[in-house]
Every structure is written in structure tokens, then in C-alpha cells.
């Protein structure tokens, strides 16, 4: 056997420029995850998976290939709702129940979703693509993947990576928007401690929310239904093993599968389009306008409220839980060292998760 025959059996001759470019993207994502610790739980599997998915002759993205099979989990809308089940089991809706006004702020922070939707359409994206790009500004990975899969699966790689990258950048994106839109006095507003929420309220909440939201917006049922189911596991107090399993083992497993499955859409032929740069740009605008929407709505509410709210908590309507709430806490303490906004910001934060799922449901019905 001569050397050229051996070389032919390897994949070296089949590597395209596109593959090389995607390898580079894979390595950049790995660098961001490992060195910069940007969303490492997602960007590390996505980075490595991107490299695997672009191996020529690798048999991993063919019809029976491993990553292709994982991708069925997204295609048949199994994995994102499962992530929501786990998120529900990890979420304490108490701060939102204690201060239901924060529900509005969670809705206000969907502003960017609609701005980016209209802008995307103006830039020549189809309506289906535009809503998938807009939803990036909800700062919710599973919802973005869920909606893009239903509407515009060919851009799923770009919307998912864009959503997760900007989520990692929440601490960089939120503070300048806060400073631009609020005065020092507003940032110093101290909010009264939240009232304690009873166990009964916490059990009733997921039930009422399920009945109300799923009947009102049936298309949001897989996401909202699973979110609330997970939350009931947590709050019921009788299935601690299941709640713990959802918070830890299941969450870890679905995170792994989700990260690798996305890579099916990170093949060179799918990912490398001029559109991708536009999608990243519009995704960032969507984030910024969502933060701005939450803050402006809080300021508007302050015109009518006797007990003022700190408008910064509106920024936490960006649902990246609990990162946006943490950023608000840090900025709040910078303005006033004795201001503790973390729990107040958790209200809009968890409301934002519901708000984004509802926005996705509305897109599925109307677009």
C-alpha cells in the first residue's frame, strides 16, 4: 500500500475552507468558555461539538450520526421544554408573588424582542426568521431554540450561539444602559423588604399560571407547562427526590445534550452565511432594547406609584436568570451601599422567563 492510499483514507483531503473556519469558531467558543468562563456549561459543549460537526467524513452528522440523533431532541421539541422543567424546579417565584407588579416589568423587557423583529424584517429577513432573531432579546436559550426550530431552523445555529454569547455578556451589556436611562437619585431608591410568601401561595401559583397561560396562549404550553410542572415539584414538598433530580442530574444531562445537539446547525454549510453577522448585530440590539424597555416601564410605573420602585430592577426583566438580577444588585450597591435589590430584581427576572415563553407562543400563533 503506498502512502497516497493511506492519505486518501484520512479526512485531510476533504477539509474545506468552511470547515477550517468552523474549527476556528469552535476553538474561540472553547477559549471563551474555559479561559473567560463565559457560559461554560453551554459554550464548552457547543465549542467542542462544533469541531466534531465539521469533521469531514466524520459520520457524526449523517442521518444516523450521533449529533444528528441528538438534534432530534430539538427538532421534536423535547430538549428545550425539559430544560424548562429543570429551570422551574430551580426557580423561586416567591419574589414575584410578593410583588406582582414585577410581572409587568418582565413583560416590559420583551420590548427588544419586538423592536428586533421589526428591524430584522426591514433588513430583509422573512417574518419567520425575524421572530426567531427577535426572541434572542428574551435572553432565554431554550425559548430561542424552541421558536427558531419551529420557524426558521436554518438559522438555529446563529440564533442559539448569539443568545448564549450575549447572555454571558449580560454584566457588560446592562450597566451602560442603566446609566444612560436612570439618574443617580433613581438608582439610589431603597425598596422595602418583600413580604414573606406562604407555602400555599407557592403551590397555587404554578397551577393558576398553567391554567391561565396555557389556555390563553396554547402554543406556549410545552414551555410554560414544563416550567410550572418543574416548579410544582419544587414547591409541593412531597417529591423532593424528583425536584432535586430535576435541579441537578436531569439539568446536567439536558444541558449536555442541548449543547451538542445545537452543533448540528453549526456545520459550515448551515452557519456560514453573510446573514449570520446581521443576526448577531440584531441580537445585540434586541438585548439592549429589552433592558431599556424594562427600565423605561419601571420609570413609567413610578409616575403612578406611591411607593417608588428602583427603576434598575426593570433591567432584570431580561430573563437570563439570575445573572441580570445579580447585575442589578451590584449596580444598586454601587449607588447606595446599603441598597439590596437582589430579591426585588428576582421578581422581574423570573417574570421575564415567563414573558419570553409567552412572546414565543404569540409569535407561533401570529406569524
Amino acid at each position: 500500500m503506498d502512502f497516497s492510499e493511506v492519505l486518501k483514507s484520512t479526512a485531510f483531503a476533504e477539509i474545506s475552507l468552511g470547515n477550517i473556519f468552523m474549527f476556528a469558531i469552535g476553538f474561540i467558543l472553547l477559549y471563551l468558555a474555559i479561559k473567560k468562563k463565559y457560559e461554560p456549561y453551554l459554550l464548552l459543549p457547543i465549542g467542542f461539538g462544533t469541531i466534531l460537526a465539521n469533521m469531514p467524513l466524520g459520520d457524526i452528522i449523517t442521518d444516523t450520526g450521533l449529533i444528528r440523533i441528538f438534534y432530534y431532541g430539538i427538532q421534536y421539541e423535547v430538549i428545550p421544554p425539559l430544560v424548562f422543567l429543570c429551570v422551574g424546579a430551580m426557580t423561586d417565584f416567591g419574589p414575584m408573588i410578593a410583588n406582582p407588579k414585577t410581572l409587568l416589568l418582565g413583560a416590559g423587557a420583551q420590548f427588544g424582542v419586538y423592536i428586533a423583529f421589526f428591524l430584522s424584517h426591514a433588513f430583509g429577513f422573512s417574518l419567520a426568521e425575524a421572530c426567531s432573531i427577535g426572541i434572542i432579546g428574551g435572553a432565554d436559550g431554550p425559548t430561542t431554540i424552541f421558536l427558531t426550530n419551529a420557524k426558521a431552523p436554518h438559522i438555529l445555529g446563529a440564533t442559539a450561539v448569539s443568545a448564549y454569547s450575549y447572555m454571558a455578556l449580560v454584566p457588560v451589556i446592562i450597566p451602560p444602559v442603566i446609566k444612560l436611562l436612570t439618574s443617580k437619585e433613581e438608582r439610589m431608591i431603597v425598596m422595602k423588604q418583600l413580604r414573606p410568601v406562604s407555602k400555599l401561595e407557592k403551590i397555587v401559583f404554578p397551577l393558576v399560571a398553567t391554567m391561565l397561560i396555557c389556555l390563553l396562549i396554547p402554543k406556549a404550553t410545552p414551555l410554560v407547562g414544563m416550567l410550572m410542572f418543574g416548579n410544582l415539584l419544587r414547591e409541593a414538598g412531597v417529591v423532593d427526590r424528583l425536584a432535586k433530580g430535576a435541579q441537578e442530574e436531569l439539568m446536567n444531562i439536558v444541558t449536555l445534550l442541548l449543547g451538542l445537539a445545537i452543533c448540528f446547525k453549526l456545520r459550515a454549510e448551515d452557519f456560514l452565511q453573510v446573514k449570520v453577522i446581521l443576526i448577531f448585530g440584531l441580537g445585540l440590539l434586541s438585548f439592549i432594547f429589552s433592558v431599556a424597555g424594562g427600565i423605561m416601564l419601571a420609570k413609567l410605573m413610578n409616575l403612578f406609584l406611591k411607593e417608588k420602585i428602583n427603576p434598575m430592577i426593570g433591567a432584570a426583566g431580561l430573563s437570563a436568570v439570575p445573572m441580570s438580577a445579580r447585575v442589578v444588585q451590584i449596580e444598586g450597591q454601587k449607588a447606595n451601599p446599603r441598597n439590596f435589590l437582589l430579591m426585588h430584581a428576582m421578581g422581574p427576572n423570573v417574570a421575564g422567563t415567563i414573558g419570553t415563553a409567552i412572546a414565543a407562543g404569540l409569535f407561533l400563533i401570529t406569524v
Partner: protein, 73 residues
């Protein structure tokens, strides 16, 4: 002399106690650091005075509005 109670504003875990009984503290001195939802935050003295009592230690989980220290002023 009056007593001022320092409360933890939210449920959290005390990471570090920076004061001892008998220490003088100024308003806004960081007397403890605590962690809630994986975020580390400083807890400041709300008044200038002398530490009369410390009710928690590092590693302890504390409920919202629980007294963590008492300052005499």
C-alpha cells in the same frame, strides 16, 4: 447608650465576619460579607458605634431580617 441591631437583608450564607466584640465601627464600614444566590455582597454598619454582640459566624446560613450583630452607640 442605645443599641442598634444589624439585620441581614435577605436569606444568605455568612462568608466572613470582619469585626470582633468591642471593635469600633463607622457608618458604612463593611462588617461582614455574605452570599446569596452565588453573589457575594458586603454588609455595612448602619451606624457609628461599638460592636456589642455578634450573633453569627462564618459558614452559617441566615434568614432574611435575622439579627447578625448589635452595635452600641
Amino acid at each position: 447608650m442605645a443599641l442598634e441591631q444589624v439585620l441581614l437583608p435577605m436569606v444568605g450564607k455568612i462568608l466572613k465576619v470582619n469585626i470582633n466584640v468591642g471593635d469600633s465601627v463607622n457608618e458604612d464600614d463593611t462588617i461582614m460579607t455574605f452570599e446569596s444566590m452565588k453573589l457575594e455582597m458586603p454588609l455595612m454598619a448602619n451606624i457609628k458605634g461599638v460592636v456589642k454582640e455578634i450573633k453569627v459566624q462564618a459558614g452559617q446560613t441566615v434568614e432574611a431580617d435575622q439579627v447578625v450583630a448589635v452595635i452600641e452607640y
